[in-house]
Amino acid sequence: MTGYERPVLSVKHLNKQYGRGCLKCVNKASLLKNYCPSCGTVYACQDISFDVHPGEVVGIVGESGSGKSTLMKCLYFDQEVTDGEAYISVYENGEKNLFQQSAQQKRYIRNNVMGKVYQNPLLGLKMDFSSIGNIAEKLISAGNRHVKMMESRGIELLDKVNIPVHRRKEAPKKFSGGMQQRVQIAKALSNNPPLLLLDEVTTGLDLSVQASVLDLIKELQRELNISIVLVSHDLSVIRMLADRTFVMLEGKVIEEGLTDQILEDPQASYTQQLVHSML
């Protein structure tokens, strides 16, 4: 490629296993799917590498248990990786492996250069705090102390995600699932992160609410040119939003390519099965 284009996020050889492993599974040949029958170790993510470029939406699809969410958790430090590297261009000029940073630095990265929206709003929001308080929490974690500024930023964001501003002091527990998801998105966006991680954000929402969340994501991506990693098992969500798509199975990336190529000319047997299962 002429002209070097610098990725926002670069992940190299990420591995995550649950369990210590044993002599039998050390070369991963004797695994049942991604599980070692002798010692019970689960190899949730195996040697995953990818780049995400500025303004790009990368989709990750795969069945439940394929390691999609584990990957996202590792990237957001919700879980420790077993080994591997990740670099973000805006942190230390993209030269330092994020996984090797101190807990304090990881907190800084989480709060300043990334945003994440969880499938389950309970994980992303404090249900008893006010909605604007939830947003302020992230701003405070990032070092903001100016109350007026945080309030106006909160209002701006809630307005952007179509939460009525007069309900800003209400706790998310009083909101519908779709509204909670939108508050999560507002919170994730509060520090203008260059990278947004979205984990099954529309799963469990009814169709019209799903549509409003998807429209919001698309609009934000277009307006703010944020890079997004989008995990979903819903292929229509992927088709609508992702430029490129990765297919995961048993902890490994088995196929990657342009989204329309994955959907119209899937190569791997599993991907064909997945695409043919689409309604």
């Binding site: 490629m1 490129r244 190529q261 119209e264």
Partner: protein, 236 residues
């Protein structure tokens, strides 16, 4: 490289794992296009016409043969081995594709759709607005429809919007997959006027048409396909 596009010995085989089958969609395809040429492909349904276009556009993965494209940004590049990132760039800036079906973002107005095409190329807002309106006007899409969702449009309106969206970019290479298939005569003529204009501007085009009469008046060369192979070519 003299040609803008040079397809050599292209074959596409679909492997269907669940049936344990291999399907040869096209084989041994050789087509070359010079800058500014308009080449048409005809043939029965299922003869592999669309496969060729989709292979060029990167929707199909190719295992055999090469598709050399002379890119403005990358220089000569083999599209069968280009990275997804390179294809995304080329789709945004250099290669357009008009299919017979409109597949668009739901809940996006006709105006927004055309405008997005321009915005993703980096066209400034105001210019994009203006060019969008000019294009929608040209295709005589009812003004009332401009701000409504294409899902509610008639077949002809959808198709006209689809063409408008691809043509507004003035791509270097335009792939037309039966763009006039379901249009009435009036709409066809509008497409024709635009194609003629694009020819004048030097756009290189490769198109599939059922309407031979329509094509013969426009094309420099015509290939016909049979069972996945090019059977003969006629130059005008």
């Amino acid at each position: 490289m003299e040609h803008l596009l040079e397809i050599k010995n292209l074959s596409k085989i679909f492997t269907l794992h669940n049936l344990g089958k291999k399907i040869h969609a096209v084989s041994g395809i050789d087509i070359s296009l010079k800058q500014g040429e308009f080449i048409g492909i005809t043939g029965k349904s299922g003869s592999g016409k669309s496969t060729i276009l989709k292979s060029i556009y990167g929707t199909y993965k190719i295992q055999e043969g090469s598709i050399r494209y002379n890119s403005k940004k990358y220089g000569p590049i083999n599209l069968t081995t280009a990275t997804a990132r390179e294809m995304i760039y080329l789709r945004k800036h250099e290669i357009g594709y008009v299919s017979q079906f409109l597949s668009v973002m739901p809940r996006t107005s006709a105006r927004e759709l055309v405008k997005q095409s321009l915005m993703e190329m980096g066209t400034p807002q105001e210019k994009a607005d203006w060019e969008t309106e000019k294009m929608l006007e040209h295709f005589e899409l009812d003004k009332e429809l401009w701000d409504s969702y294409p899902a509610t449009f008639s077949g002809g309106e959808k198709l006209r919007l689809n063409i408008a969206r691809a043509m507004v970019k003035r791509p270097r290479l335009l792939l037309l997959d039966e763009p006039t298939a379901s249009l009435d005569l009036d709409s066809k003529m509008k497409v024709k006027v635009l194609i003629e204009q694009l020819i004048k501007e030097g756009t290189t085009m490769l198109g599939i048409f059922h309407d031979l009469e329509f094509m013969e008046n426009l094309c420099d060369r015509e290939y016909s396909m049979q069972n996945g192979m090019l059977s003969n070519s006629i130059s005008y």
